[in-house]
Amino acid sequence: MSLSDAEQLNEVVKPPSKLFKNLTAKIAAIPMILTALVIFIGCTIWTIYHSFTKSRLLPSPDKWVGLDNYERLWSENRWIVSIENLAIYGICSLILSLVIGFCLAALLDRKIRFENTIRTIILYPFALSFVVTGLVWQWILNPELGLQNVIRNLGFENFTFDPINNAEIVIFGILIAGIWQGSGFVMVLLLAGMRGIDEDIWKASRVEGIPTWKTYIFIVIPMMRPVFVTALVIISAGIIKVYDLVVAQTSGGPGIASEVPAKYVIDKMFQSQNLGLGFAASTMMLLSVLVVLIPWAYLEFGGKKNG
């Protein structure tokens, strides 16, 4: 028996084509494949490409203008205000929701009574939509009839807190609403991470006589690093998407004081008929996501391959 015979035998045993192997599974996965390729990759590339064209009312793929849209975008005051707002909102909401979420999780972790009830109360805003959240806080922060008025009636006549009407602090009004809605979710995430920590760590630290708060800061937090990173990524992704909250609570006002990039994009595309600018702005949003996502993906998946 020669070598070629063995090869021939191999040929016969081989299935007719690799393409038809596992065919039902492939057919069943067509929606997923289409979504991945057409929507997530195709549409993203389409938008990036068209951000370099002079599209106004309709997309015009052949009017190539290079970086024109980006130059106009960054020279427009409204976009700069949007970016500043996003930066203030983003940094504050990231820090506050992590700090508040962690403190609440630590409190709930102390083996207290009514834990389920308290968790239910803290988490319920997360079930509500941003529209509902925005409208409730719009009403509570109403300058004439809301919180400000109540505190003034209590005797503090000079008390001023009117984020809905005051362009200087309007973004903090939105921040309050955003924190109210989302901090419960961060708490649940961090609590799950905290429960994953070995009970022996606590025993050891008790034996050593380390105070509880020190154990949290120097032992528990470093051990929870992966959970914190996950929470960070999820919160950041949510912050960049923030849109409905602003639309409902302030409609971007007063003036343009509470505009955010997500709203800028939608307004440019569907109201001012300036598609090119909208595409450029959304590409900038994508870039900012990548800035967060790529280091995370590198840490999360790149590290595993090496180790």
Partner: protein, 319 residues
């Protein structure tokens, strides 16, 4: 876990019982009490405002309970509140939302569960690549993909019309853009990453031997899915349903872009009612409308309890 193992011991166990009123406990419970008040405050204000008459609201005590309770704002919000020229209240938005919700939830879960099943048990060349794209796609801002999807929906609507007219000359124009079906497709697409992840992780944890035994008995792809996987994983289907119902009900962005004013979902209509510039602001009606819109997710949240937490944690921790 530590708790369950501790209970198997007979007799007294665990640490020495603490005094109920130690200073630490007072601080902990005191803080949590104040925190709970802060989180409950908006719900309380919503309910109180929606039960007051306008004269009482103008007195300016939003935290006070109503002196004269009235349900009129609720009736008005449901059946009479105006958006633009339409004055039939939120009821239309409610029925639109239901019509969007039911097919979206069904379709997205059906597709994602089959995806997850194929990814977990029937891996093929490239399946992991598509899955990775899907997961990373979940982080792309919707704004990047919104406009091309408008074009895709419009074009495929026209395509379907052409095909139908090829067979039947008088076929009416079929629209995907601006119709409920377009929105259903959009919800299915954007729900896919998180749901696929959820189902994939769950099906991976189903014992491999069960799957192999069914294969030996001659069951194929769909047979195993319907006879074994589906009945075994009802809890995860409930979790997925909770996730999708609240998510789709609360959606605003897709609703405002992919539907017309007649088919606006409830959230969009609510925003238009409250933020409309014409007329006197009726805060009690606004709050009643806001509560009505928040009611569906709230009921689901309070009824589902731990499953809701499990849903968001399952989606988040591993994503």
């Amino acid at each position: 876990m530590a708790d369950t193992t501790a209970t198997t011991f007979e007799g007294p166990s665990g640490p020495k019982p603490k005094r109920a009123f130690s200073s630490t406990n007072i601080i902990i419970y005191g803080t949590l009490f104040v925190v709970c008040l802060y989180y409950l405050l908006p719900l309380y204000v919503m309910i109180m405002t929606s039960l007051k008459g306008m004269p009482e609201i103008r007195l300016g005590n939003i935290f006070g309970p109503p002196v004269e309770m009235t349900f009129e704002p609720w009736v008005k919000a449901w059946a009479e509140a105006c958006t633009g020229i339409n004055c039939d209240g939120l009821s239309r938005g409610f029925s639109n939302s239901i019509w969007i919700l039911v097919p979206s939830v069904f379709l997205s879960i059906a597709i994602a569960s089959v995806n997850g099943y194929a990814l977990a048990n029937w891996k093929f060349k490239g399946s992991e690549v598509f899955f990775t794209i899907l997961i990373f796609g979940a982080f792309i801002p919707y704004q990047v993909m919104i406009y091309p999807i408008v074009i895709l929906l419009r074009e495929s609507g026209d395509g379907i019309t052409n095909v139908m007219q090829f067979f039947w000359e008088d076929a009416p124009r079929f629209r995907l853009m601006g119709s409920l079906w377009g929105l259903v497709i959009v919800h299915t697409i954007f729900g896919m990453p998180i749901l696929t992840l959820l189902f994939r992780n769950y099906f991976t944890s189903v014992p491999e031997d069960l799957f192999k035994a069914a294969r030996v008995d001659g069951a194929r792809f769909w047979g195993i899915y319907f006879r074994i996987m589906l009945p075994m994983s009802l809890p995860i289907f409930v979790v997925a349903m909770i996730l999708q119902v609240t998510g789709i009900w609360n959606d605003f962005l897709f609703g405002v872009i992919y539907t017309k004013p007649e088919t606006y979902p409830m959230t969009v209509q609510l925003n238009n009612i409250v933020n409309s510039v014409q007329g006197v602001k009726e805060y009690n009606v606004n709050m009643a409308a806001t509560l009505l819109t928040g009611l569906v997710p709230l009921i689901i949240y309070f009824a589902s309890g731990k499953l809701f937490v499990r849903g968001i944690a399952a989606g988040a921790v591993k994503g």
